[in-house]
Homo-oligomer: 241 residues x 2
DNA sequence: CGCTGTCTTGAAAGGACTCAACGCCGGTGG
DNA sequence: CCACCGGCGTTGAGTCCTTTCAAGACAGCG
């Protein structure tokens, strides 16, 4: 299997043979985590960053009184905590939603990259910037959109992110996220998630059963969610020189 | 006046003379913007990043139907859109809240830094990671906290950020942010901001008059806002080698 | 002195929450 | 092979936080 990080970085421009070798090398150590298992603990100081090779993961931020906020979902090819390279301790823990294969990339290797591979450095930096751009899209959703719009927006986002890695067929994809998770991500109660999902179904926008989401009306779902995929910068070229 | 960016970066570790010279050089071109003036337009593709040298600025993200979400506030020493170096077009515009002195740092200069100054590169990357960490703290506030807690949390955050640049005296500081701005940042209506502020005042936590905020009970304000300053990474050391 | 942006207040309406109970389904173990 | 169990989804009713609309007060500025 080709390294998902290489594919991910090459979305923005080709890598040299040498760069690809470096990536291959630093991502060779992998571990498998079971569903609901914690990959990185909030408040810990790992000396590696976790790259999702396979599976779906979430970043959890528990507030002082124990409420959970999911700050990100991660698909294969995403670094779940690349920021822990420079930011310690880690302020949000990573947990597997499904069974996950994770590559542990040593921070020392990342540091070497910043010394010898300027383009790779910018590409990795770029990854963390997209992460932040998604945070901002979520901020707008949480701050200024209603529950129905938030979920519609998220389903659009997830569709596009999964599509770039070939995990969408006919606007349908696996959705191993519980209603409780959705609530914790988008600031609504589990009960209300349930009702909003019913509304999306009743509106003919989606079908969901057995952990599978089918988007029945892609145009209208985007419109309801006020979705504009630009913030994902999926194929934005990254200048090499 | 010593360059605020140098002071900012040196919070995490000393710079070499040469590094300081580089920073001094790339931040030499400055412009002044009046209150409410737009510094960078949403959707534009600037070839420089804006460093706030003096004044207070906000990042605005307008959704498709025109609602505004403020995604960040920036104090002197902050890059308002360092991410535009690698992420184009810019997804959130920058606007001055007060009169602002802004240094325009050419992206070409930043790219040169990534080629020749690994430590500076990591330090700048680090700046964008803290930016994202603040986003996550806001996500938790917007998703899982009530209006009262959100504002309490923000006042704690702002106090600490202003304190590191010497703009707080006796737990009081200038607050040139209107109630409408606060609402747009924390997902509440202007009317409700007003009522929540009254409650914070009635509880004896703050006093606010004439664009000045006085924190009367710092301990309790932090407790109400469930505030833990760790995510700001104010004095986290950044390894040089 | 009047204008305009900002702050304040009141009342009614609505979106979302909490609590509590029930249904569904796949997995486990006897 | 079936009963039990736990996780997840669904439903109903009452409550509460927050919004909207509308109007008035205040303050700085030209």
């Amino acid at each position: 299997m080709s390294q998902p990080l290489i594919r991910r970085l090459e979305r923005h421009g080709p890598l040299t043979v040498q760069e690809k070798e470096v990536i291959q090398e630093i991502t060779s150590r992998t571990t498998v985590f079971g569903p609901r298992e914690e990959i990185v603990a909030q408040g810990s100081r790992p000396n590696y960053s976790s790259l999702i090779v396979e599976g779906l993961a979430a970043r959890n931020n528990y507030s002082l009184d124990g409420r959970r906020q999911i700050t990100a979902f991660h698909v294969p090819g995403d670094f779940a905590d690349l920021h822990s390279f420079l930011l310690q301790p880690i302020d949000d823990g990573v947990a597997a939603l499904t069974s996950c294969t994770v590559a542990m990339v040593a921070h020392s290797d990342l540091k070497e990259i910043t010394k010898s591979y300027p383009y790779l450095t910018r590409a990795l930096w770029h990854c963390t910037l997209i992460d932040a751009a998604v945070h901002r899209a979520w901020l707008t959703a949480l701050g200024r959109m209603e529950a129905l719009e938030r979920l519609a927006h998220f389903f659009c986002e997830l569709r596009d992110r999964l599509d770039t890695i070939g995990m969408v067929q006919d606007n349908s994809f696996d959705l191993p996220i519980t209603q409780e998770d959705l609530g914790d991500a988008f600031g609504i109660s589990t009960v209300h998630v349930n009702r909003v999902l019913q509304e999306l179904r009743a509106e003919g926008l989606i079908t969901s059963r057995n952990r599978t989401l089918i988007i029945n009306d892609w145009e209208r779902l985007q419109s309801v969610g006020q979705y504009n995929p630009e913030y994902l910068h999926v194929h934005q070229p990254l200048e090499r020189d």
